[in-house]
């Protein structure tokens, strides 16, 4: 396996002489970030507008999507450069793209979309002019997604070729803000390997779409139920072949997850550093039990960093990300929870305060994170399902469900 430098060469302080000149893109990115420096607005709506503006400008400057091919509107950077890119962004505390889910649908479109779909969707997606939500889960189909029952029936009439969609999605993150949903719908009979499922792009403003926000553990409404009542969706919004959507959803999810770690890595590094400072400041770091926990958290963040590079390296060589990606997914899920468990231990007596309490340390962020991190072992595939995947797909153990592997 080729090794990837942990830090791009020009980051290491030169002992003497001039540092090698950074590549052109990096100079421009630094200039861009310097020009766009600023504090995020307090107000939620203003903050969203601010992040959208940032990403529109970024796209305008040709500095969005470091890993995407140039034809798709990306920068086509090499792995080491992608790492450097994310490092620059994290260091500058650049606002995150307001819609992380966009980067699950985008690779799918790049790989499986029609030229028209790529032309239509990718640019507004990068610019955050259009936000996306993911319509996979249903009340009866969570871990077992292939059991989904939202139906799409193809009709051709005077209005043209389209699908009529009827059914319900649930736990749909950002559904109330999204312009589009990438959805898995049933177009054929259920069968092994996710048969009869299609991948469809549904406009959220279409007639017959009802969004009902759901409050989550923190009291905020971050996800929603979405109801479809005979919603007309143009057949041109089908991605890939009809009834072949399951395989499309799976392959793109796998590859996307591998690259998603890139940007997470530096963010996690920063949060762990903030936790370490908190422990030092409160004096909790003097406690041997706390030190054990801190060291374990530090080990996890290093596992994540090192593994994601290994996985990416393989992806870039055109092979499967291999076990490292599956391992990282699970480590990451549990890491987010453990991190906040340790943070509340560090807070000690102050951990009783709520996340809305003004006088709480760091304005309650750790308590908020503690509650929200409950989702990290549920949302993106539960920890149990991830273990099944490791056991069955990586280790080759027989499936207890008697399922044929897909």
């Amino acid at each position: 396996m080729a090794t990837v430098p942990a830090v791009p060469a020009e980051d290491a302080e030169p002992s003497s002489g001039g540092a090698p000149r950074p590549p052109e893109w990096r100079v421009r990115l630094r200039e861009f970030l310097a020009a766009h420096a600023g504090r995020p607005p307090q107000d939620k709506a203003e903050r969203l507008a601010w992040a959208r503006g940032f990403h529109a400008d970024l796209e305008e400057a040709g500095l969005a999507a470091p890993g995407w091919p140039v034809e798709a509107g990306g920068m086509g950077l090499e792995l080491a450069d992608q790492l450097a890119y994310h490092q620059e962004m994290t260091r500058a505390r650049a606002p995150k793209h307001p819609c992380g889910l966009s980067f699950i649908v985008a690779p799918t479109l790049i790989m499986h979309g029609t030229p028209e779909q790529r032309e239509r969707f990718l640019r507004p997606l990068l610019r955050a002019d259009e936000l996306w939500c993911q319509g996979f889960s249903e009340p009866g189909a969570g871990s077992d997604l292939t059991a989904l029952s939202t139906r799409a029936v193809r009709v051709q009439d005077s209005d043209g070729d389209h699908y009529l969609v009827t059914g319900q999605k649930v736990w749909t993150t950002m559904a109330d803000q999204a312009d589009w949903m990438f959805a898995l719908v049933r177009t054929g009979s259920p069968g092994p390997g996710g048969a009869g499922i299609s991948y469809l792009l549904i406009p959220m403003d279409a007639e017959g779409v009802t969004v009902r926000p759901l409050r989550d553990i923190s009291g905020g409404a971050h996800f929603a139920e979405v109801f479809f009542d005979g919603v007309r969706v143009p057949a041109a919004n089908l991605v890939g072949e009809e009834n072949k959507g399951w395989a499309i959803a799976r392959t793109s999810l796998g590859h996307e997850r591998a690259t998603a770690f890139l940007s997470d890595e530096f963010r996690y590094r920063r949060i762990v550093d903030e936790l370490l400072s908190l422990a030092a400041r409160t004096g909790a770091a003097a406690d041997p039990v706390v030190r054990q926990s801190l060291a374990r958290i530090e080990a996890s963040v290093r596992v994540l960093a090192s593994n994601s590079r290994r996985a990416l390296d393989l992806v870039l060589q055109g092979s499967d990300p291999g076990p490292a990606a599956s391992v990282n997914r699970l480590v990451k899920s549990e890491f987010e929870q453990e991190l906040h468990e340790v943070a509340l231990r560090v807070l000690g007596p102050d951990a009783v305060l709520g996340n809305r309490e003004r006088t709480a340390p760091e304005r309650g962020r750790w308590t908020y994170g503690y509650l929200m991190s409950r989702a990290s072992t549920i949302g993106a595939g539960t920890a149990e399902i991830q273990r099944n995947t490791i056991a069955e797909k990586v280790l080759g153990l027989p499936s207890h469900r008697g399922e044929t592997r897909s």
């Binding site: 553990i217 809305r356 006088t359 409950r374």
Partner: protein, 376 residues
């Protein structure tokens, strides 16, 4: 023995019935998310059953049933997330009883026992347990003491008519009783991780105070309060965990994925089995610790600390597991799972942290060993 067992069974059943009716999930959710801090009416009904007087001897108007029964009752309250200040009130009763101050006892115990007044402990809070409130000053005044200063976080303060304040007096630690309804006491509500156990900041501005314990009795009296609080908090945690386990098991048996009940997957069934082992172990330790408070020995402190550490940690693990077993449903505001997690997690750092309690227990065990060796 049979009578105690019978009494406990009757008490649990009566409480269970009352709480099922008066303290269901919708009720708790409405209270916790609303402006009201605690359930006054429920407290009155519990008082009618004699609950606030369980550990108080009959000469002070109580039932004299001891901590064994109080812990059983608290477990039932925990099961339903009852927003009542039983733990704090009992802790202050324990201090009053331990102090041997008959005047103060005569003044407060009957009102605490009848449910007319509830109490809260205003102390400094550390990872190792209650301490003196740093920012409170006690000064002598004609006819008694006056307290000034603030205690940043006090559980159940908003409900309290009586405050037990740990503060320095002439450079020595002391415990004071403050009538929380007098002028000069200000109580400011705080946002709490667990709204079923409301928190507030307490400010006192030259308020009259009665000294319950001077520096000679301070440790013993304060310890009595802390041990009572730990045992009841642990008993509460057993109830919280037991109910969360029941919810998880119920869901595991009914929710279907992949054509079968999720409880048939061993990742889920083993998790549930581990919950039961942890809950039953906690219950056993808490019962022993409560019995040890009723019949103190040199082992009491260790019994209390071990029980509290185990039960508090178990509740966090089980309530977290309950969320996990419910998948997306467990992450919603509507589902009660998060309220159980909140109560469990907040309890863990309310009095003393589990790992510190274990540390203290281990230190005591080893010290005892050294002591025994010296004796031989």
């Amino acid at each position: 023995m049979t009578t105690t067992v019978g009494i406990e069974k009757d008490l649990r059943e009566a409480l269970g019935r009352l709480l099922a009716e008066r303290c269901d999930h919708e009720h708790v959710a409405a209270l916790a998310d609303g402006p009201q801090e605690w359930d006054r009416d429920l407290w009155a009904e519990l008082a009618a059953m004699g609950l606030p007087g369980l550990v108080v001897p009959p000469e002070h108007g109580g039932e004299g049933m001891g901590f064994a029964l109080a812990a059983a009752a608290q477990e039932e309250l925990g099961r339903r997330l009852a927003p009542v200040p039983a733990m704090s009130t009992t802790a202050v009763q324990a201090a009053l009883l331990a102090s041997g101050d008959s005047a103060e006892a005569a003044r407060w115990l009957p009102r605490l026992t009848s449910g007319e007044v509830t109490a809260a402990v205003a102390a400094g809070r550390t990872v190792d347990g209650w301490a003196m409130a740093d920012d409170v000053r006690a000064t002598r005044a004609p006819g008694g003491w006056r307290l000034s200063g603030r205690v940043p976080v006090v559980a159940d303060a908003a409900a309290a008519g009586l405050l037990l304040v740990a503060a320095g007096a002439d450079g020595d630690p002391a415990l004071f009783l403050v009538d929380a309804t007098v002028k000069g006491v200000r109580i400011d509500r705080l946002d709490a991780l667990d709204p079923t156990r409301p928190l507030a900041g307490v400010r006192m501005d030259g308020v009259p105070a009665g000294r319950l314990a001077g520096h000679e009795e301070f440790t013993e009296v304060f310890q009595a309060a802390e041990r009572a609080a730990l045992v009841l908090l642990a008993a509460d945690a057993v109830g919280v965990a037991a109910q969360a386990m029941d919810m998880a098991v119920e869901y595991a048996g009914t929710r279907r994925q992949f054509g079968r009940a999720i409880g048939s997957f061993q990742a889920i069934s083993h998790r549930c089995a581990d919950m039961l082992v942890a809950v039953e172990s906690s219950r056993a330790l808490v019962a022993a610790a409560a019995a040890s408070l009723d019949d103190p020995s040199e082992d009491t402190a260790v019994a209390v600390d071990l029980a509290a550490a185990h039960a508090l940690e178990t509740a966090v693990r089980v309530t977290g597991g309950c969320v996990q077993v419910h998948g997306g449903m467990g992450f919603t505001w509507e589902h009660p799972a998060h309220r159980y997690l909140r109560r469990a997690k907040a309890a863990e750092s309310l009095v003393a942290l589990p790992d510190r309690l274990r540390d203290r227990a281990a230190a005591a065990l080893v010290a005892r060993l050294d002591h025994d060796n010296e004796d031989n």
